[in-house]
């Protein structure tokens, strides 16, 4: 179709009589202010090693500058807001998802290697020859506690909070030499043998009383000018040293207690004997997630079941909803049939109720002991069905729910399509003596299919990922016996992904979940692409573009 395009008025001919330069300078000022906020943010992201995020924000910033500054990019000013959102929340996650599927990201491997090294280096241990500090405990009526430690050289030390400071003298009110508060005093009382019996209002505890407080004392970590002290046994505190030292040059972690060298391997610092230090860090693991999914029997078996059921579920849902929808449409479509409009309005009621509400309601109705469905079954057949406990019946229940949810859509679509079939065709068939079912098979169905088939394919793709119904009606249960991943008999791939990532009793496995979702993407992508090919949607795009 030829298009007449009138040149747009152009940016330079500003309508409202503003001086030409003004708008540009205002824009420039606003843009500078914006850049001044966002640019430091990008730098912060880089410094925190959030490279992907930093890159994404950086590109967005560049685009915004380009579009605002370059006159030629005027059309992009209309496009950019939407494109940025789509880029940030559809495209970026999709790409990041690919990356995650090649990593071991998940519970136990959440932190970066940097963070794990920091954590491990903060761990301490008490080397065998470390100095020991015998101690006494003092406590006020209110339970405020002060410790008196004796250094190996005989000096006395007291605790102020978590700090350990030397006690200058052991009689009378004494300055305790706090560096930041020289006037700080502790009133120390000594008995005739030279033993300290009171510090301030706190009384020295008997040994029996000390033993009762051991568990509290065990958690204390005292700080003596940077050296950390911990309870070593019932009678002594002991100085601690860092347990691990990271050697940057060789990229190894050395255990100072045992001398064992740990090498980063598969997301853990690992000793030559294969012992792993916790926590692990996230790292790329190549195809490990995909290999696990396809070869580890405890994962692959249940995965295959989930995989097959996903196809059965989506296929059966389409067939059932379409059959019922078409059937009702055919019944309603007869010109002499009365109350057609009223019936149609009533029959689409299930479609108007939000899906999550219907799913939760049906979950109740399918309750094996009290549910209304089983009451009907009981009345008709004298027995009850274990709807949500038995794998087979759980699947039947889901299909019934989805039939209820989906048939109105198919009915509406079919009613529309039936209207467009020319009556002459039927008349001709009637004259040729075709029986009703022949007319259906040879006229109605083929003609209907030309317009409805693409919708059936999108319905298949939609149900392929119909998380809401599966999760809210059965939660994917009952579980598959022997599965090490959270896989249920009614789980479809998307609910399986969700449970892997967010609901596994064994912790989240983002890497494996991402690998599964990538597989779903390829399946759904292929189906949609084929659908486009066959319905020539691409040509339509080409045409309307």
């Amino acid at each position: 179709m030829p298009q007449t395009i009138v040149r747009p008025p152009g940016r330079r001919r500003v309508a409202r009589g503003l001086p030409g330069g003004w708008g540009f300078y205002t824009r420039l000022a606003a843009l500078s202010a914006f850049d001044a906020v966002v640019l430091p943010f990008v730098i912060t992201l880089f410094r925190d090693q959030e490279y992907a995020l930093a890159g994404a924000v950086g590109i967005a910033l560049l685009l915004i500058n380009f579009v605002v500054l370059v006159e030629r990019a005027y059309p992009l000013r209309y496009l950019l807001p939407g494109l940025l959102f789509m880029g940030a929340l559809v495209v970026y996650p999709a790409i990041y998802n690919i990356y995650v599927s090649f990593t071991n990201y998940g519970t136990g491997n959440i932190l970066s290697m940097q963070q794990v090294i920091q954590q491990l280096e903060a761990q301490t241990y008490a080397p065998p020859g470390a100095p020991r500090f015998p101690y006494a405990v003092f406590e006020t009526e209110q339970g405020e506690r002060t410790l008196l430690l004796t250094a190996p050289d005989g000096r006395l030390l007291v605790t102020v909070g978590h700090r350990v400071v030397p006690l200058a003298h052991v009689s009378g009110p004494e300055a305790v030499g706090l560096p930041e508060d020289p006037g700080f005093r502790l009133d120390v009382t000594v008995d005739e043998n030279g033993n300290v019996v009171r510090i301030g209002d706190a009384r020295r505890l008997e040994r029996r009383e000390v033993l009762q407080r051991l568990s509290a004392l065990q958690h204390l970590e005292l700080d003596m000018d940077g050296t950390r002290l911990r309870l070593a046994d019932a009678n002594n505190f002991q100085a601690l040293s860092p347990r691990y030292t990271y050697n940057r040059a060789e990229n190894v972690l050395v255990d100072n207690a045992t001398g064992v060298v740990y090498v980063p391997k598969d997301g853990f610092f690992t000793s030559p004997d294969g012992e792993r230090l916790l926590p692990g860090f996230r790292t790329t693991v190549g195809l490990a997630n995909y290999v696990r999914l396809l070869t580890n029997p405890a994962i692959a078996g249940p995965f295959l079941q989930v995989f097959v059921w996903t196809f059965v579920w989506a296929g059966m849902s389409v067939v059932l909803t379409f059959s019922l929808g078409l059937g009702l449409a055919l019944v309603l479509n007869h010109p002499q049939f009365k109350l057609k409009g009223l019936y149609r309005s009533l029959l689409i009621i299930p479609y108007t109720i939000p899906g999550f509400v219907s799913a939760l309601v049906w979950r109740g109705l399918f309750n094996t002991e009290f549910g209304q469905v089983n009451r009907v079954v009981q009345a008709l057949f004298g027995t009850v069905i274990p709807w949500l406990q038995d794998p087979f019946w759980a699947k039947v229940a889901l299909l019934i729910v989805n039939l209820w949810l989906g048939y109105p859509y198919m009915m509406i679509v079919c009613l529309g399509a039936l209207q467009s079939i020319s009556p002459e065709l039927y008349e001709a068939a009637y004259c040729d003596g075709a029986r009703p079912w022949q007319r259906f098979w040879h006229i109605t169905l083929p003609l209907l299919m030309t317009s409805v088939a693409p919708l059936l394919v999108s319905s298949f793709a939609y149900n392929f990922n119909n998380f809401t119904v599966i999760y809210l009606v059965t939660r994917g249960r009952p579980p598959i016996a022997g599965a090490v991943t959270p896989a249920g008999a009614t789980d479809i791939l998307i609910s399986y992904t969700y449970r892997l990532a967010f609901e596994s009793g064994r912790g989240a496995d983002y890497g494996l979940a991402a690998a599964v979702s990538l597989l779903i993407f390829f399946i759904v992508g292929t189906i949609t692409w084929l659908n486009f090919r066959f319905t020539r949607a691409f040509e339509e795009v080409e045409h309307s573009a």
């Binding site: 009138v6 005027y74 496009l79 999709a94 049939f337 029959l347 859509y409 008349e427 009637y430 979940a513």
Partner: protein
């Protein structure tokens, strides 16, 4: 074409429809009944409540651990804001695709379609991790925030809605805009004053469809929202009923009816426009 319907023909057709209606209304009848039933349980529920009462509806307001109306407000808010923004952003983009000729235009249109092949929920893991990272720097957009959730919904809806609108914009004659240009109106002014008012039917349909979709969305809200008072209805009601059908059936049913009300009303009022839109897109969860 069709033969005259015999009496039998009428009868069996009505019988089939009545069977279908029984199926369609089976859950509805039980839920309406339960919502007025004082016993508040699925066990031994009668189809006509023995003790009809409004207590279940009162409980919806009063139960502090399960703030039903806070959830409903959250759902309405998230759905309204994200649908409005979506309509605005998509209208801007659709206008550019419809009226400008620029390099990369064709590629951009294809990209929109291709992106739509990738359902956003598939990336839930990375969306979760993305919001986790964002939240470290901008807490207001992180996990457990409505702004974050709205952002996610907005991103997911751009592709298809832009296409729907672009198709409609193409049908609006350009002569009106041209005469506005001649009168000295700016590009943006013709867009807001002329094109948008003329495109109102499609703006309304896109708004309503995305409102319904967002209002009913479960999985992303479930993944991204955490604290009780932030939840949307879908997540909250799932939490509320859990496995407590024997103890909370009545209150849940009252909630289910109230929760469905806005969507059912929209459908009733806009049946004709929506049916046309649905056969093109089929967006509803």
């Amino acid at each position: 074409m069709h033969e005259r319907l015999s009496v039998w023909g009428h009868l069996w057709r009505h019988a089939v429809i009545w069977l279908a209606l029984a199926f369609a209304f089976f859950p509805v009848v039980w839920v309406v009944s339960a919502s007025f039933d004082g016993s508040n349980t699925l066990v031994q529920q009668q189809i006509v409540p023995i003790v009809p009462t409004l207590d279940n509806y009162k409980m919806l307001v009063q139960e502090p651990r399960y703030p039903f109306f806070t959830w409903m407000w959250n759902s309405l808010k998230v759905a309204t804001v994200s649908s409005s923004l979506s309509v605005f952003l998509c209208a801007l983009a659709a206008y550019a695709f419809s009226r400008f000729r620029f390099r990369g235009r064709r590629g951009g249109l294809f990209a929109l379609i291709l992106v739509q092949i990738f359902p956003q929920v598939l990336a839930m893991v990375s969306i979760y991790l993305l919001l986790l990272s964002i939240g470290r720097y901008i807490p207001a957009l992180g996990l457990n925030t409505h702004a974050g959730l709205i952002m996610v919904y907005l991103g997911g809806a751009i592709g298809i809605n832009t296409w729907l609108m672009k198709g409609y914009f193409d049908t609006i004659p350009r002569e009106l805009e041209e005469s506005a240009f001649i009168d000295g109106a700016s590009r943006f002014a013709t867009f807001t004053r002329i094109v948008l008012p003329l495109a109102r039917p499609i703006l309304v349909v896109v708004f309503i469809l995305s409102f319904i979709g967002t209002y009913s969305e479960f999985i992303l809200a479930r993944v991204l929202l955490q604290s009780n008072e932030q939840l949307t209805l879908a997540v909250g009601m799932n939490l509320f009923i859990g496995d407590q059908y024997a103890r909370r059936w009545g209150v849940f049913s009252a909630g289910a009816l109230v929760a469905s009300l806005p969507i059912v009303l929209i459908f009733m009022l806009m049946q004709r426009q929506l049916i046309a839109g649905l056969t093109q897109g089929g967006v509803k969860g």
